[in-house]
């Protein structure tokens, strides 16, 4: 079989079959087009301002390494004047993070970028090893996620940087879209595909930030994903051909059933039709516009999406599979859904947990799962599931010029009966945690809450891990 010629430069031999669309190209052309596509993503979405200070969330893994390399390259090439810095989080997981941190240090030297490392230990007094020793392997991802969210923002604030970029790729976003469809999590589905998210105050009154002399505080950090349209396979390929140095492994503590399931589907989809990864992302973006907000209207396209206190996707590593864990998450959800269904059919009340009411600065419910998203103000939405059985069931909005055909179901009749029994859910205010000052809709933020739980149970004699 005659060797193929690169379809782009038409001169060199094509060594690569591009994962994205099976184009046959040579290595230099691949590197070139990969970089160009990312540049296009950045410029077409106006992701960066000229001269902006950007912190690259660097884990030492392939995504963040490639991200750092590409940003550095593009910054120099196009003279964007960006002030780049590497920001790394040390969760304190022996055998995992310590190796990848070495990789980050090497990157810092290689790309000549300053590096800041922030550890959970110094921020919170607990490393992940210690947390797991304390609470076991269930629910530990929640802690890691909550801590990491704050750690990135705090680290950025320490550096005086208002914009953090992460290495989330197209596969990650696609997985998140499918995962949230499977979990029935509409608000997260709405947020999963935004390339830029910010904390509410970053989009709120400028007066507040100006009053501080334009300082960056932990309450106004932007987050974006420039690699959002890049395929994971291509990122690996890029790293290979550019001989980039990274450390790849899966976090040893984590599986997540829905994400694992979604990941398998994505991999299979890719085999059938490689473009489908981007198609899922595209669908996700379109569906986000159809997610109703609190008033029940479709959101429409929003420029900067406001992210919740607890962000949705885990960064990179989470995805290893542990069969027992995988089963339990789906089984739990199945059980909960079934109970709700049976209660509904029997006409009894279902357990509706309102967003935690804070009395005396203490949370009075034992729910330690992520907080309600702000959009849930008018629905009861706990543990990532909608407990409001009475949400309108008349389905979609119909065009007004077409005769509507109402379908009255038993559900609707019940809802009119029970309407008086539901107390209106209080809208969530966005304020600051009284303990640490972090942005929170509660009086005490999620991290402080978790820490309180940990600290209370901490045995007096120190536990040495590892």
């Amino acid at each position: 079989m005659a060797p193929h010629i690169c379809q782009l430069c038409n001169t060199s031999r094509a060594q690569i079959l591009r994962p994205k669309n099976h184009a046959r190209i040579c290595a230099p052309c691949f590197i070139d087009i990969f970089e160009r596509e990312i540049a296009e993503t950045i410029t077409s979405t106006n992701l960066f301002q000229p001269g902006e200070r950007i912190a690259i969330g660097a884990s030492g893994g392939k995504d963040s390494t490639v991200l750092a390399s590409v940003l550095k390259t593009l910054n120099d090439r196009h003279a964007w004047g960006l002030d780049l810095v590497l920001l790394s989080i040390d969760e304190g997981i022996t055998g995992y993070r310590d190796h990848s941190l070495d990789a980050v240090k090497r990157n810092s030297v290689e790309y000549d970028l300053p590096l800041k490392i922030v550890s959970y230990e110094e921020l919170y007094g607990w490393s992940m090893d210690q947390v797991v020793a304390q609470i076991g392997k269930k629910g530990n991802c929640t802690y890691c996620g909550v801590f990491r969210r704050q750690a990135l923002d705090r680290g950025a604030a320490m550096l005086g940087v208002g914009h953090v970029v992460t290495g989330h790729n197209a596969d990650d976003v696609a997985e998140t879209v499918l995962m949230n469809l499977l979990r029935g999590d509409l608000p997260r589905l709405g947020r999963a595909t935004s390339i830029l998210t910010s904390t509410p105050s970053a989009t709120m009154s400028r007066k507040e930030t100006e009053a501080d002399g334009g300082e960056v505080t932990i309450t106004n950090v932007k987050r974006s994903k420039p690699l959002m349209y890049a395929y994971e396979k291509e990122i690996v390929m890029y790293a290979h051909y550019k001989k980039l140095d990274y450390f790849s492994t899966e976090c040893i503590y984590s599986p997540e059933a829905f994400r694992g399931s979604a990941r398998t589907l994505i991999k299979n989809l890719e085999r059938i039709r490689p473009e489908s990864i981007l198609d899922v992302v595209r669908s996700g973006i379109d569906m986000a516009k159809l997610v109703p907000n609190a008033e029940g209207h479709p959101k429409g396209a929003a420029e900067a999406v406001i992210r919740n206190e607890v962000e949705d996707e885990a960064e990179g590593g989470c995805g290893g599979s542990n069969a027992k864990e995988v089963v339990s998450e789906m089984a739990q959800m199945e059980q909960k859904l079934r109970q709700d269904e049976q209660a509904e059919e029997a006409g009894t009340e279902t357990e509706i947990k309102l967003p935690s009411k804070v009395l005396d600065g203490q949370r009075h419910d034992r729910d330690l799962k992520p907080d309600l998203p702000p959009e849930a103000a008018l629905t009861t939405y706990v543990q990532g599931q909608n407990h409001d059985r009475h949400s309108q069931t008349d389905g979609q909005q119909l065009p007004s010029d077409i005769r509507t055909v109402p379908i009255r179901t038993k559900q609707e009749k019940k809802s009119s009966r029970k309407a008086t029994r539901d107390a209106p859910v209080p809208k969530q205010r966005l304020g600051q945690c009284e303990r640490c000052g972090y942005l929170s809709s509660q009086a005490v933020c999620k991290a402080c809450m978790l820490l309180e739980g940990l600290n209370k149970a901490r045995p007096r004699t120190g536990i040495e891990v590892g």
Binding site: R36, T41, Y229, I272, P292, P298, M333, G395, Q396
Partner: protein
């Protein structure tokens, strides 16, 4: 699973039906053991709830409402026919007339698709439920430009002219399908054309709505499959009950029933539905080359449905909450699937891929008269002239 004719759970000795507490239970539905009668009643009630709009009292005397029921001889559509037949019988008994008339149509794709039912089962079905109108049409009829779609009456021999015409139409359809790059595209195209044909047929025969037999499981599959194909924007229109952008209402009365429940019901119905069903020969495809996206999702949900049926139902429920944007008759519609295009579609593709010159897909519109949605641009053949 097709071919599997056992009940969902093996019957347990001395276990009473939870609902009537009289008879022995034969199946366990969502953790409740049920006897044959209660189970049958469960299935019928679920469908009846969804048919509230078509009660006798809502139909004027002398103006009989007509509904189209496309049948594939799969368990879901046959069960729907069975249940509605019974439902109409009850209406007739109680009030002397019915809320609507059913027109059952089979879109025959066996000449262009493998592994699908031919028209032979039509006779059997018609014999068992004689009160309705039945038609069988070929998918290639979608190319038929004549106003009145020729309806094949199975008793009448085809005239030579008719045979010639059908051969020509068939050739065009085959050419179209042969030009598509993958099994997924072909399956997608067949699905789209079948829907379009059903809509056209419904309008020609004065049907005000189409009743699709899709089960909960099938709707969940569709949700994920269409998302994977890039048609997330159209999900509300593809899965919700009510007016569709085709100018006709679509209903899915089986949407509260899981596929496995329907399979169990088919065995327990009296008489059993097995003779009416087409047995799908699900070959276990080892190579992923020929698995389509739809099949991938079907297999996935078959597994999920086994142990986590409520999760399947939840997916459908969640999709039901997405709000379709308000559209008007002036909006451009996709030239293939007829879904409204709110934004121009081709430009979007470019932005994702950058100014990639290596793009393999035909992004730039060749015939500018045809606007396509993102998903159809994927499926689309290079030569748009092949489309009906």
């Amino acid at each position: 699973m097709p071919g599997k004719r056992t009940s969902i759970n093996p019957p347990e000795a001395n276990r009473l039906c939870k609902r009537c507490e009289i008879q022995e239970s034969l199946v366990v539905i969502r953790a409740e053991p049920l006897c044959r009668d209660c189970f049958t009643r469960y299935v019928h009630t679920k469908v009846a709830k969804r048919m509230e709009t078509f009660r006798v009292r809502y139909s004027g005397i002398g103006q009989q409402r007509k509904l189209l029921l496309p049948i594939s001889f799969g368990v879901s559509s046959v069960t729907l026919l069975h249940v509605l037949n019974h439902h109409l019988g009850l209406q007739q008994e109680k009030t002397g007339r019915t809320g609507f008339d059913l027109h059952v149509v089979h879109v025959d794709t066996s000449d262009v698709e493998d592994n699908t039912a031919g028209a032979a089962l039509m006779h059997v079905v018609q014999k068992r439920y004689p009160r309705h109108t039945y038609s069988s049409i070929l998918l290639s009829d979608v190319y038929d430009s004549e106003e009145a779609l020729s309806v094949l009456n199975m008793l009448e021999p085809e005239t030579n002219k008719a045979i010639e015409k059908h051969t020509a139409l068939h050739d065009r359809l085959s050419a179209l399908l042969a030009s598509l790059p993958s099994a997924t595209s072909r399956a997608d195209m067949v699905q789209i054309l079948r829907t379009r044909l059903a809509v056209r047929f419904a309008k020609l025969h004065g049907c005000e709505a189409i009743l699709w037999g899709d089960s909960t499981t099938r709707l969940a599959e569709r949700t994920l499959a269409e998302t994977a194909k890039g048609r997330g924007f159209a999900l509300p229109w593809n899965t919700a009950d009510g007016e569709s952008p085709h100018g006709l209402a679509f209903y899915y009365p089986m949407r509260d029933l899981l596929k496995k429940e329907l399979i169990a019901h088919a065995d327990l119905a009296q008489p059993p539905l097995a003779p009416l069903l087409w047995e799908e020969n699900r070959k276990v495809a080892v190579s992923t080359k020929n698995v389509t996206i739809d099949e991938l999702m079907a297999r996935y949900f078959e597994t999920v449905e086994k142990d986590y049926p409520s999760i399947v139902a939840n997916v459908v429920k969640t999709t039901g909450k997405l709000k379709a944007p308000v559209t008007s008759a002036d909006d451009t519609a996709c030239g293939l699937c007829h879904m409204p295009l709110i934004e121009p579609r081709f430009q979007v593709e470019q932005r994702c891929d950058g100014q990639s010159k290596d793009s393999m897909q035909v992004e730039a519109p060749r015939a500018l008269e045809l606007s396509l949605c993102y998903g159809c641009a994927r499926t689309m053949p290079e030569d748009t002239g092949l489309l009906p």
